[in-house]
Amino acid sequence: MAEEQLVTFSLGSEEFGVDIMSVQEIIRIPPITRVPKAPDYVEGVINLRGNVIPVISLRTRFGMTRVEETDLSRIIVLQVQTKVFGIRVDAVTEVLRIDSEAIEPPPSIALGMDSQFIRGVGKIGERLLILLALDQIMGGE
C-alpha cells in the first residue's frame, strides 16, 4: 500500500504537512535580510552556508496574522525541483507516515485560505493535516 512520509508543522491552531522528500533541513531562525520590492509574503533572504535563499512567511502567504518569533519558530528549508527556499513556521511538530488513501482532495470550500496551496487533506484519526502544494507556494500564481 502506498504510503507518504510527511514533516508536519503548525501555524496557529492548524496543522500542515509537507512531503519529507522535499525537506532539506530544518533550522532555527537566522538573521533575515529584508528584500525591498519583493512580494509581501517573502520575508527576506538568509545565508544558508554560503547560499542566499529566500524565506517565505507562510502566515502572510495564507493571509494569517503575523506573530512574534518564539523558541519554537523554525524555517523548513525545501527543495522543489531546482529551487531551494525556506518556509517560516510556528513550530515543527513531527514526522509521520500516512496512507495515500487517507488523503482526500482539497475541499471545494477551502479552509479559510487559498485552495491553490492545498494538495489535499490527510486524516489521521481525529487530526486533519493540510498537505501543501509546494510548487504553488513559491511564485506560481
Binding site: P30, P31, T33, R34, V35, P36, K37, A38, V42, G44, V45, I46, N47, R49, G50, N51, V52, I53, P54, K83, V84, F85, M138, G139
Partner: protein, 744 residues
C-alpha cells in the same frame, strides 16, 4: 549503431560521449580556423597537415562512437586534404567553401548528438562534392607502371609494392579506402622447396575471399607457375584484424611467413632514392602503430592503417622537397621509440598542461572559499574578543598571530580560485574570422579581420555573454562600416578593408575595441533620422559624441535597405542593453572617412566586486564601487524639491537624489539627522545621488544570485554575505537611474 550502443553501455557511453563532444567541437573549431588561414595563405604544408590531423582524429573518434554520417563526411574531407598535402591538387576557393560547409554540417550533427537525438542531418551532397573535387583534379596515380619488379629482398622491411593496378583495380582500391576499409599488403613466403607455388597462391586467395577480397597477386600466377619466387604478395581489402588474416594464411601448408602491412593508398611508389629512405620510415612507424594497437587494446573501427597515417603524418611523402626528406629519418628515430600517443601529434605536448573541469565543481570550490573567508572573519573577531578578556595570556596572542597568517593564506587562496574562472577572450574572438569572411563574401566586400590581445583573460561568465554583442558590432562594421572595394579605391584607401578586434586590461576593467577603417558614421544623416523619428528635437544642441550615441536608441537604423546581416534597427540598442547587463558600457569614436571605433568596457569579473557599504536605517546595502563617483555630506536644508523630486546643487549642476529609505519602504527614523550622506553614482553619462544614513567603508564582496524567484527586483542586482554571516543586498545602479529618468 549509436542506439544499440546506448542500450549496451548506458552510463559509460554518456561519459565517453561528453569527451567525444568536447574533443570534436575542438577539432571542428581548429578545422574552421585552419581553413580560413589556408584561404589566406594558400598551400602551407604544415597547415594542411594540421587540418588533415584534425579531420582524421574527428573521423577516428566519430567512428569509435558509431556516428556514421560524421565518419563519411570527415573521411571524404580527409581524403581531399590528403591529396592537398601531397600536392596532387591545388587549394581552391570552392574547396575551402565545401570544407567549411563540412565543418558546419558536422557541427549541426554534433548538436544532434549532444541532444541524444539521431543524426538526421543530410550529408551525401557534401560527400559527393568532396569526391568531385578529389576526382576532378586527381592524376591517375595507381596505374603508373614504372616500378614493378622491385620486391626482391624487400621482405625483411616493409616496402609498399607497386602492384601495377589497372584502372579498374585502382578504382576499387580507392573506393575501399574512402569507405574506410582496411587495405593491406600481405607478403607471404614459401617454405623452401615448395612445389606448385601457383596453387598455394590461389588457395591463399580463396581463403581470404571469406574475409575480404584480394585485388592483386604479385608475381602473377603465371610467373609463380614457372619462376622460382620465394614468396608472393597480395593486395587485400579486409576489415578483419591482421592476426585473423595471418592465421588463415598460415593454415595453408608450405606457407611459412606472413607479413601484413597497411598499404598506403594514393601514394604511388616511385623510384627515387629519397623515396626509398622514406619507405623505411613508413615501415618503422607501421610497426609502431601495431604496437600501439596491441598495448592500448583499442579495437575500434580505426584501422591500423589509419593510425599509421597519423603516425607518419610528420613524415610526409611527396610534397616535401628532397633535401627536407633527407632530414626526416633522423627526426623520426626518437619519435618512433617514444610512446605512440605522443607520436600522434606534436601539439599534444602543449595540451598536457590543461585539464577540463566541470564549472559546477569550480563554482562549488569558489563558494567554499567564500565561506572560509567569512568563517575566518569570525575567528578574527573571537580572537580580538579573547584578547580584551585575557590580554596577558600568551596563547591568545599566538591565536591572533595564527589568524593573521591564515588571513594572508586565505587572500592568496581566494585570488587563485578566482583566477580559475578566468578565460582568455580568444575563445570568443576565434569565431569571428569565419563570420567576417562569410559576411564579406555575401556583401562583395574585401575585409580582413585582425585579432589582437586574444590572451586577455576575463571572467568566464563575461566571456560567455560577450559573444553576441560583439557579433552584432562586427556585423555592423562589415555591413555599414567598410565600403565596397570600388568606393574604397575611389577614396584613395586600400581595397582591402580592415576590422580590428582588440582586448586589453585597463585598471579594474577590460576594454574590448572594435575598429574599422571604413567610412565612419554619417553624423548628419544620423541626426536627421533621429529628428524624423522624433528621437531628438530639431533644435536640440548635440555634440558629435551625443549624435554618435543616438544609434544606441531603440528603433534606430540608418541602413537604407534591411539586409540579413544587420539592419532592422534592433541591433545597437540590444547591444547596449546586453553590455549594460554585464555591468559594462560602450563608447563610440568616429571620424568621417577614417572609420569608427567602438570601445567596450567591462568589469573583469562578475563574481567579486569592490563595494561601498552604506547604512540606511537598520539595513546595510552594498553599492558597486565602479559606479560610485564621489560621496558628499549634505545639509538637509540644502536639498530642494523640484517637480516632486529631491535635488541638490553640485558644482553648479543639479543632481537628482533618491532616498533609499523611501525607495525601499524602510521605516522612517524617529529623529532625522541634520546632515545626510549622499553617494553620487554614475552610469553611462547619467548621475544620481543616493541619500544614506552612514557610510560603512569599502569592501570586496562576492556576488551571489538571489535565485530565479527574486531575480528581477527593481534596484537590486544581487546579494552578498558579509563577515558577520548576514546577507546584504547589492544595489543595481543602472535600474535605479533608469527609474528616475522615467519619472522625469
Amino acid at each position: 549503431m549509436n542506439q544499440s550502443n546506448d542500450n549496451n553501455m548506458g552510463v559509460d557511453l554518456g561519459e565517453f560521449l561528453e569527451f567525444y563532444l568536447l574533443d570534436s567541437s575542438e577539432q571542428i573549431e581548429r578545422l574552421g580556423a585552419g581553413l580560413l588561414q589556408l584561404e589566406k595563405e594558400g598551400g602551407n604544408i604544415g597547415l594542411i597537415n594540421d587540418l588533415f590531423r584534425s579531420a582524421h582524429s574527428l573521423k577516428g573518434a566519430s567512428g569509435t562512437m558509431g556516428f556514421t554520417p560524421i565518419v563519411a563526411m570527415t573521411h571524404a574531407a580527409e581524403d581531399l586534404l590528403d591529396r592537398l598535402r601531397q600536392g596532387k591538387i591545388e587549394v581552391s576557393l570552392e574547396m575551402i567553401d565545401i570544407l567549411l560547409a563540412v565543418t558546419d554540417r558536422v557541427k549541426a550533427m554534433l548538436v544532434k548528438v549532444e541532444q541524444r537525438q539521431e543524426i538526421s542531418v543530410g550529408y551525401e551532397d557534401l560527400v559527393i562534392s568532396l569526391k568531385g573535387l578529389i576526382n576532378g583534379e586527381k592524376p591517375v596515380i595507381l596505374a603508373t607502371p614504372q616500378f614493378s619488379q622491385g620486391q626482391e629482398g624487400a621482405m625483411a622491411k616493409f616496402v609498399p609494392l607497386n602492384f601495377s593496378l589497372s584502372q579498374d583495380e585502382g578504382e576499387k582500391l580507392n573506393n575501399a579506402h574512402m569507405m574506410g576499409h582496411g587495405i593491406y599488403q600481405v607478403d607471404v613466403k614459401f617454405a623452401s622447396g615448395t612445389l606448385m607455388k601457383a596453387v598455394r597462391a590461389v588457395m591463399a586467395t580463396q581463403r581470404l575471399e571469406g574475409m575480404g577480397s584480394v585485388i592483386k597477386i604479385l608475381p602473377s600466377l603465371e610467373d609463380l607457375e614457372v619462376g622460382d619466387a620465394e614468396g608472393f604478395s597480395l593486395l587485400v581489402l579486409s576489415d578483419e584484424p591482421n592476426e585473423e588474416i595471418r592465421r588463415e594464411l598460415l593454415e595453408i601448408s608450405e606457407l611459412v611467413e606472413v607479413d601484413i602491412h597497411p598499404y598506403p593508398v594514393g601514394e604511388g611508389v616511385e623510384e627515387t632514392e629519397a623515396n626509398e629512405r622514406e619507405v623505411e620510415v613508413k615501415g618503422e612507424s607501421v610497426t609502431d602503430s601495431e604496437r600501439f594497437i596491441e598495448t592500448t587494446g583499442v579495437k575500434s573501427e580505426i584501422t591500423s592503417e589509419e593510425i599509421a597515417d597519423v603516425l607518419t603524418e610528420s613524415k610526409i611523402f611527396k610534397p616535401l622537397p628532397i633535401q627536407k626528406i633527407a632530414v626526416v629519418p633522423k627526426v623520426v628515430v626518437p619519435v618512433s621509440t617514444a610512446p605512440a600517443t605522443e607520436a600522434v601529434s606534436g601539439e599534444s605536448n602543449a595540451q598536457v598542461h590543461t585539464i577540463r573541469v566541470d564549472t559546477v565543481r569550480m563554482d562549488n570550490l569558489i563558494n567554499l572559499v567564500g565561506e572560509m573567508v567569512i568563517t575566518r572573519t569570525r575567528l578574527v573577531q573571537i580572537g580580538l574578543d579573547l584578547k580584551i578578556q585575557y590580554s596577558t595570556d600568551n596563547m591568545v596572542n599566538s591565536l591572533n598571530e595564527a589568524n593573521v597568517y591564515l588571513g594572508r593564506l586565505m587572500n592568496d587562496l581566494q585570488e587563485s580560485v578566482m583566477r580559475l574562472r578566468m578565460v582568455a577572450i580568444g575563445t570568443v574572438f576565434n569565431r569571428f574570422p569565419r563570420l567576417v569572411r562569410d559576411l564579406a563574401k555575401k556583401t562583395g566586400k574585401e575585409i580582413e579581420l585582425v585579432l589582437k590581445g586574444e590572451d586577455t583573460e576575463l571572467d568566464k561568465t563575461v566571456v560567455e555573454l560577450i559573444g553576441d554583442p560583439l557579433m552584432h558590432l562586427i556585423r555592423n562594421s562589415v555591413d555599414h562600416g567598410i565600403e565596397s572595394p570600388e568606393e574604397r579605391l575611389a577614396s584613395g584607401k586600400p581595397q582591402l578593408g580592415t576590422i580590428t578586434l582588440d582586448a586589453y586590461h585597463e585598471g579594474n576593467h577590460i576594454a574590448i575595441v572594435i575598429s574599422d577603417d571604413g567610412a565612419g558614421l554619417d553624423l548628419e544623416k544620423i541626426r536627421s533620422i533621429a529628428v524624423s523619428k522624433g528621437l531628438v528635437g530639431e533644435r536640440e544642441e548635440l555634440t558629435e559624441n551625443d549624435i554618435s550615441n543616438l544609434i544606441f536608441l531603440p528603433g534606430f537604423s540608418t541602413a537604407e535597405k534591411v539586409t540579413d546581416i544587420s539592419g532592422r534597427g534592433v541591433g545597437m540598442d540590444v547591444v547596449k542593453k546586453a553590455l549594460n547587463n554585464l555591468g559594462g558600457m560602450v563608447d563610440i569614436a568616429t571620424r568621417k572617412g577614417k572609420g569608427t571605433t567602438f570601445t567596450i568596457r567591462l568589469p573583469l569579473t562578475l563574481a567579486i566586486i569592490q563595494a561601498l557599504l552604506v547604512e540606511v536605517g537598520d539595513e546595510i546595502y552594498a553599492v558597486p564601487l565602479s559606479s560610485v563617483l564621489e560621496t558628499l555630506l549634505v545639509e538637509r536644508t540644502d536639498i530642494k524639491t523640484v517637480g516632486g523630486l529631491p535635488m541638490v546643487q553640485l558644482r553648479g549642476n543639479t543632481l537628482p537624489l533618491i532616498s533609499l529609505q523611501e525607495k525601499f519602504d524602510l521605516p522612517v527614523p524617529e529623529t532625522a539627522n541634520e546632515e545626510v550622506y549622499v553617494v553620487v553614482v554614475g552610469f553611462g553619462d547619467k548621475a544620481l545621488g543616493l541619500i544614506v544614513d552612514e557610510l560603512r567603508g569599502q569592501q570586496e564582496v562576492v556576488i551571489k544570485s538571489l535565485g530565479d524567484f527574486l531575480n528581477n527586483l527593481p534596484g537590486i542586482a544581487g546579494a552578498t554575505i558579509l563577515g558577520d554571516g548576514k546577507v546584504t543586498l547589492i544595489l543595481d545602479i543602472g535600474s535605479l537611474i533608469q527609474d528616475i529618468l522615467v519619472k522625469r
